[in-house]
Symmetry: C2
Subunit: 328 residues, 2 copies
């Protein structure tokens, strides 16, 4: 069966099936990726990450609604669920969002379980995003939970990455913030009606100053903080945008800043650079996978089992075992 881009556009069920095929890395999924590749690269990808409890899901739903209703864009949401690698089931149901977004053909929502081997998740997400992109969705929101390394890898897929914080999340949050600061294009301080918002905002800005030692006063307006001429190239300084996602407060401003970042990326040529980086990474992953598959197809399971036995008995380290195996 073939999956052309026009099929995907007209048929949500076929789109959902294709995404499943990509997720499960079936031959049909691989074929779909090859066939839709030329049609992809048009969507704008927004990554949304942050610690649990910051209200990311609500924010993403609000963003999707705004982009759809106010800007008339088609929107897809890819939510990476923190589910077990063992069961592979998605926990955060799609239905939570469906209340507001249901019945709209211009919105597509997909939850993905974090299954498969390390490195596989970013690759699978890239594949799913490509399918949605080729299907004609103009904005794709990629939501991940937490600040782990896989989240960082996924954030790299996006053109604009939002890091969501909320007031009073405990002591560890400072470390998280510092760690994830550099992937943030925009910092969203959600639940901005909660007590302690001033402290959190101050901490966020202080952290930003650390990242930008020249010291900039970021103002509330958009135009002031956007570009800093530094090292002879345009540098984007992440603004802090306050929102109350449950009430929709600040969503319009946030969207505006996303589009300003988009324009900035395009104007500075970094959009194309990011795209190339992303494709090169995907190519790299595929290459490693193929080399491994090709090699394995020329070996009997017994060959490998024999070497592994030596590793289990600690007669030979894993890297020495690999060396030996590749020498013969």
């Amino acid at each position: 069966m073939g999956f052309s881009s026009s099929d995907l556009k007209s048929d949500r069920l076929s789109l959902a099936r294709t995404i499943s095929a990509v997720e499960n890395n079936t031959p049909a999924g691989k074929k779909a990726l090859d066939e839709t590749f030329a049609d992809s690269g048009k969507a704008y990808l927004v990554g949304v990450t942050g610690a649990p409890g910051t209200g990311k899901s609500t924010l993403v739903s609000r963003l999707a609604l705004w982009l759809r209703k106010e800007q008339g864009l088609t929107v897809a949401i890819v939510a990476i669920d923190p589910t077990s690698p063992f069961t592979g089931g998605a926990i955060l149901g799609d239905r939570v969002r469906m209340r507001d977004l249901a019945g709209d053909e211009g919105v597509f929502i997909r939850s993905m379980a974090t299954r498969g081997e390390l490195g596989g998740l970013a690759l699978t997400t890239a594949g799913v995003v490509q399918i949605l992109d080729a299907a004609g969705y103009q904005m794709i929101l990629i939501e991940t939970v937490g600040a782990g390394q896989s989240e960082v890898e996924i954030a790299r897929l996006a053109h604009t990455t939002l890091v969501v914080e909320s007031p009073g999340m405990g002591d560890d949050i400072q470390a998280i913030k510092a760690g994830i600061m550099e992937i943030a294009d925009i910092l969203v301080l959600n639940k901005a009606d909660n007590p302690g918002v001033e402290n959190t905002e101050r901490a966020l800005r202080a952290n930003l100053e650390l990242g930008y030692p020249n010291g900039h006063n970021r103002k509330a307006g958009h135009s002031e903080y956007l570009i800093e001429k530094s090292e002879n190239r345009d540098r984007w300084i992440p603004p802090v945008i306050k929102t109350v996602a449950t009430r929709g407060t600040g969503i319009g401003e946030l969207c505006e800043v996303i589009f300003t970042h988009k324009d900035n990326l395009a104007a500075s040529g970094r959009m194309q650079m990011r795209e190339k980086e992303r494709l090169a990474t995907e190519f790299d992953h595929q290459l490693k996978l193929s080399l491994f598959e090709n090699w394995k197809n020329n070996r009997t399971p017994q060959d490998i089992a024999k070497v592994l036995e030596d590793v289990y008995e600690r007669r030979c380290s894993p890297s020495k075992a690999v060396e030996r195996l590749l020498a013969c």
Copy 2:
């Protein structure tokens, strides 16, 4: 320079240097891994993970203190910091813990930044743990932040994995808990003196019931909840242990349960199984890496650049490009 296990034992500075070499994947680091492999496999590995703000760091310090002072064991802590892949700097300072544990030769603390490519972190952590293991540390506590996929991979390194929760962490926490439930051997409900602890405990136990559909009433004592005969093999049901790490409450009980789990693992043969799985995974990673390196050494950068150009121009999908490259 050579790194023998006895060197490591006698010289903390050389141990720290070796760990850095392993972290940076230098030739000296690789050599150290090969040379210490035969001496490793003796330490007991405890993984500690959970969302930010649950008090993991304090808990880990308390655990280390208890194991050291009450059980007379040597203890190493490997803390995986949620730092940026760009700067590679560790944010959570070692000094936070050093107050209580400083000056004790039987305790070694190491913070690791989450740098390098996906899949690399688990591999690097395994290497660092192996070095500490060979150096004679009897208990190794591996602390990660969050519930991302890399954390799950790291948790798999451990013999016993603790998942730390705390009361009132917001709505998303339910999803996280469900997702991370299956890697938990022991659930730690820290900050158990905070309001809302009963609700969180109830939610945790309800989640456990979901995972164990036969429905078990886990009691406060240890002996009742430990083993369930199911599917013809011993099955461990994760107990919920309440602690107040800042005051040291519940730490003794927690240690006791860790050792009960250890005995259970050993008796059921699953200890050896986990070890084999871990080594097989490491072998796999090494094999993929070596195959890639070997292949690359026989290619000119121009060969690859030419194919990548086709990918950038979307004339050819990454997987088709790999196919073409491997065919010639």
